[in-house]
Structures are given as structure tokens and as C-alpha cells.
Subunit: 245 residues, 2 copies
DNA sequence: GAACCGACAACTGTCAACAATTAATGCCGA
DNA sequence: TCGGCATTAATTGTTGACAGTTGTCGGTTC
């Protein structure tokens, strides 16, 4: 039985269930335990967490607002499915925000932060040589995160990961093309240079293009798939109620 | 007594209360009926809307996620107060997103949409001559909205107004300086030109600067106030629990 | 007069229950 | 055997209630 603060005996209200449940559902989506389109069974989830449906519903409402769940009247909450159009839209937004983050960061980034980014780039080079795609993926994420953090814009720091999480709801995962790692890290180096020289507009342009390059790769994988997959076409059946259970 | 779908007799579940309540609270914040820092009394609000606390809490959770409310353990939900830093951060994000919207819009905007923007500019010119600050304010908002809509990026269309709403939670409202209207509309004209010529990067730059000009004006009013107001300084008491009730 | 203290009221966080609705099951006939 | 149709089971949206916490008010002490 879950208790707000670990397990301190009996119902002292030192924390609310809602954030815990919210994070738990986020985790389940992140790990793929809950996949796009699947229904959230409130009672089952509540039972599994040892609580009642009230807090579960509140957490789901919050996640709906984030864009990880969607609700349907009298049918409850579902893990959202992100269409191709939406995924491409998200790339564009991320590109813009990432550029903004870079412009802001360039003016105020500290030498410590710059050194941190440099180390990440070196580690990524090592991961490329290995080659170790998994750690490259992690390091790459961390690099992006640190750039955003360097902007010192709290709202941006909050917003950017939400967009990334939403993008992860697109049906396919692990879109890192092995061949792209080297060029990607070259872009990182150029970005770091611009930040070092406090070149805000340069950093912004590079960061934006960095994400748009990712979008282009994403588009290429889409085309490859649709060529292989017997062309789902505009009436892609994936958008039907397949996984509603 | 409020009913999900207007008033069709008796508890047919054709709509959920939650979105209604959410919009109602948003409205109350928008009109200033609820002002920053005030506490949301769940029972009172539920009683006033003729429903129970459950849906009210769900709506509050959603609004918390948007950033219009904040929650405090065992004390409930409060209308958020946006600090000066946060307001400035929001300007930066809006600038970036608005620029992105323009870049996207430039490539796909229709002649009908361009004509709509042109008409708004003309109407704003008229409002400046009057001078009618209120209608200028409305028209200006509509211009911004239409640019974002022209981007055809649904997530952006959803996100941008949320940031604007959050910015409205800053303690002062009505920040339109009469003198700035003319230069602001000149910027609109330049933006429209760029969009007409499908000049994405130009439109992006102009739109970004347009918002940043607003940020600069905002900063100037801040400095004016702090000069008049006996300098609140870094220990601004406004951040205390003044309005908790 | 101001700080402290304790009872009381107000309110939040959570739960269990109920009616409305949707999904599942089994029965029936063709 | 397979597709409708009624019946049953599951599930949601909402409610009212309860325990725990915060806030209030008067009295008391220094």
C-alpha cells in the first residue's frame, strides 16, 4: 500500500497522491508499459496503487492537459497517439524554442556550463567510436537539456521536456540513425563554439537547424517505412479504435 | 443548477462538468474576478456552480498544469502570481514561438489570410487615429492570433494563447502605451510584407522583434513604476502571502 | 498591551457508493 | 456456424461523507 510519504505509519498528510500517480503514469508511458491508444482503467490503476479513483482522475486530468492522455466522454482516459502531422509540428516548435534557448543562453552561460557541454561532446565522440548508440542517445538528451537549462528561463526549462515527451508518443521510437550521430555531434561542436563566443543569433540559428535536421531524418524514416509498409496512406487505420480494449 | 449540456431535464451524461468549470475559472481570471494570489475555495465554487467538489478539483488540476493555478499541500489551489522574472521569461518564449509561427506561415499563408491581416492593420490605423485604445488592443490580439493560426501548427495554436494567458497573471494589466501603437502597427505592416513575399526568415525576425519590442516597453513601465513606488527592491513584499484569505 | 495557548470552525485530501453509460456475454434464430 | 438482440458485467462521472490539517477567536499570562 502506497502512502504519500513512503510509509510513515498511517495517513499523515505530508504529500498528495496526485503528483506521485502522475509521475507513475508518465513513467509507464516512458517505458512503453503503456503504449499509445491504450485505455487507462481507473479502478485497476487505483487498486494497484492502493488508493481510490479520485486522485487517479486528478492525475489523469493533469496529464491530459500536458498532452500525454486524452479523454473521451463516458469512456475515460486514453494514452494519446501522436499523428505524423503532430509529430512534425512538434519538431517545428522544438526547433524554435531550442533556438530561443540558445540565444538566451549565449548571453549568460558560465564557463562551468560550457565545460560541461564540452565534456558531453567528448563523451559522445567516444560513444560514436564504440559504437554505443544507447549512451549516445542519453548523452545527446543531456546535451540538449543542459543548453535549455543554460537559458535560465524557467518556463522554457519546464516546457521543452514536455514537448519531447509528447513527441515520444509517436508510434515508432528510437529514431536515431547510426549514420547521423557523427554529423549530429559536429553540429554540437559548432553550437558550443557559438555559445563560447556569446554569439546569440548564431547559436539560435545552429540550434534551430540542429532540430530541423532531426526532423528531416525523421521524415526520411517515414518515407522509408511507408515505402515498405504497403503505404498506409491518408486513411491510416492506426487512427481507428484498434487498441481501446 | 448547472447541467453538463445546458439543461436537458435530468443527469444525462452528454458532457463532463470539468471542461465547463475549467473555462469558468479561466473566465473569472480573465475578467479579474479572480486575481493573482487569491485562494480557490472548492466548496464555495462547487456550491455556486451547483455541483460537487470532485469535478472542481479535476478542473483545478488541469489549470495548475497550464500554469494558471498553483497548489499548496493542505491549503488548496491559488491563482498564480507571475513574478517579473517569469513575465520576462514568457516574453522571450512568446518571441521565439511567434517567430516560428511566422516562418511556418510565410510558406503556406493564403491570399485570403493575407487580406484578413491587411484589414486588421487598416482597422488598427483607424483605432490609432480615433484614438481608441481598447479596440486597438482587441485588433492587435486578433492580428497575433491570425498569424499563429496561419502557421497551421495545431500545437502552436494551442500553446501560444496559454502563454499569453499566463502573462496576464502579472500583477499589472493594460500595458499598452498610447505612444507605442503607431510604431507597433508599422511593425505589423513590415510583417505583412514579409509574409506576402513568403520571406520566412524575414517574417520570423520581424515577429520576434515585435514581441521583444513589447518586452522592452514592459521593462520601461517596470522601471517607471519602481521609481515611483518607493522601490520594492529584491525583497518585494508582494510575494508574501498577502491575499491568501 | 502583546505573545501564547487551546478549543472551535473551515477547508482540504481521500474514500466509498450510486446512477448513467459502455463493453461483454450468452441466447436465439436463420 | 454466424450474425443480431437482450441481459449482465464493467467502467465512468459524480456525489456525499470522513479524517486530518490549517486558520480563527477568545481567554490567559507575562
Amino acid at each position: 500500500m502506497l502512502r504519500p510519504a513512503a510509509n510513515p505509519a498511517r495517513t499523515p498528510r505530508t504529500a498528495s497522491f496526485v503528483p506521485l500517480i502522475q509521475r507513475e503514469i508518465e513513467r509507464m508511458i516512458g517505458t512503453g508499459e503503456l503504449t499509445g491508444g491504450t485505455r487507462i482503467n481507473e479502478s485497476t490503476l487505483a487498486l494497484r496503487l492502493g488508493i481510490s479513483r479520485g486522485p487517479v482522475r486528478e492525475a489523469c486530468r493533469a496529464l491530459e492537459q500536458i498532452g500525454l492522455l486524452r479523454s473521451e466522454l463516458n469512456r475515460g482516459f486514453f494514452v494519446r497517439e501522436v499523428s505524423t502531422k503532430e509529430a512534425l509540428d512538434l519538431y517545428d516548435i522544438r526547433a524554435g524554442l531550442f533556438g530561443t534557448a540558445g540565444r538566451l543562453a549565449a548571453a549568460i552561460i558560465t564557463t562551468v556550463q560550457l565545460r560541461g557541454l564540452g565534456e558531453l561532446i567528448a563523451q559522445m565522440d567516444a560513444a560514436i567510436e564504440a559504437p554505443d548508440i544507447a549512451t549516445f542517445y542519453t548523452l545527446n538528451n543531456e546535451f540538449h537539456r543542459q543548453v535549455v537549462v543554460a537559458s535560465d528561463n524557467d518556463k522554457l526549462i519546464e516546457l521543452y521536456p514536455l514537448l519531447e515527451a509528447e513527441l515520444h508518443l509517436f508510434r515508432r521510437r528510437g529514431l536515431v540513425l547510426p549514420g547521423s550521430m557523427r554529423t549530429s555531434n559536429d553540429e554540437h561542436k559548432a553550437i558550443l563554439d557559438a555559445l563560447r563566443q556569446s554569439d546569440g543569433t548564431g547559436a539560435a540559428r545552429l540550434l534551430e537547424r540542429h532540430i530541423l535536421a532531426g526532423k528531416a531524418r525523421f521524415l526520411r524514416t517515414l518515407e522509408d517505412d511507408s515505402a515498405t509498409e504497403a503505404r498506409p496512406g491518408p486513411l491510416d487505420p492506426r487512427h481507428s479504435r484498434s487498441k481501446d480494449r
